[in-house]
Symmetry: C2
Subunit: 151 residues, 2 copies
Amino acid sequence: MMASVYYRMPPTPATPATPAAPAAPSSPRQAARKKAAIDRMLDPELFKALADPTRLKLLACVLKCGRGCSVTEVAACCSVDFSVVARHLSVLARAGLLSATKDGRTVWYAPRGDALAERFRRLADAIDEWTPAQCCTTTAKLKRTGPRGCC
Amino acid sequence: MMASVYYRMPPTPATPATPAAPAAPSSPRQAARKKAAIDRMLDPELFKALADPTRLKLLACVLKCGRGCSVTEVAACCSVDFSVVARHLSVLARAGLLSATKDGRTVWYAPRGDALAERFRRLADAIDEWTPAQCCTTTAKLKRTGPRGCC
DNA sequence: GCAATACTTGCATGATGGCGTCAGTATACT
DNA sequence: AGTATACTGACGCCATCATGCAAGTATTGC
């Protein structure tokens, strides 16, 4: 039987087994640097902080607001307990997604939108700049030679 | 006492309470559209798929390889059980981060680097393009008037 | 000092999710 | 046909974590 597609494969067409040689093949040293960039930007801690729906909603709230928000204020947007909101905001601040400034008895959580956008953009760049090309064998050749470690 | 800083506040300087009016204030309709864009791009499912260190390592492996990889092959890179690798790759494919093509008895998981980069770049754009400005009161005014819902 | 506000922290609970083992299915090879 | 390969699915175990409640701390206002 012919190759059949699993799951969804939305907008962009499926990556062909042998990619159409993108850009120029970089030097091994440069390739290693770009590989390292991908590893560095693919930080589990960042994504863990963003993985919870409630936390994400709170982040969006502060982000859309644009100014510093107190915990009380953010909690007003959300149906969860106050302590939950306080904890989530603290997690987001610890992950560098919000900045926290204490003034008297209230804490102002301000969006770090620029930093966040910058982080995602760099990640996108790291992925884009990585031109695989010569790293391993092609899929076709692999079928003959059998599997081997790819990293 | 003066305002003191919590946690870390790395590279970029702290967002001042009253931001230096970025760009031109958009129309309410346009503002709503940009807010919606942030909500749309801030998808918990995407981040959940990326939140696990092992899964992230496997994604990086396929990404760096650039070509389609079989489960067996990817499993060779990693110290975890074969079934774990298979499951992780399937999760990544379901999240649209890899494409899965079955050919005979082996499944080729190919990187969707372009789609992934595009997704992060759009997220960055959505955040960047959002100019808060007039959405709520400033932090300073808020201190006098007391907290109010921000979203 | 006393009370109210703003937030933090500890604790119990329940849900989610990652992991390995093992059995099952589908395809390829001889 | 029989065996090996490549993967999927169903359990159970365990760690992590999100949540709510309730008690504690720190600051402000009277």
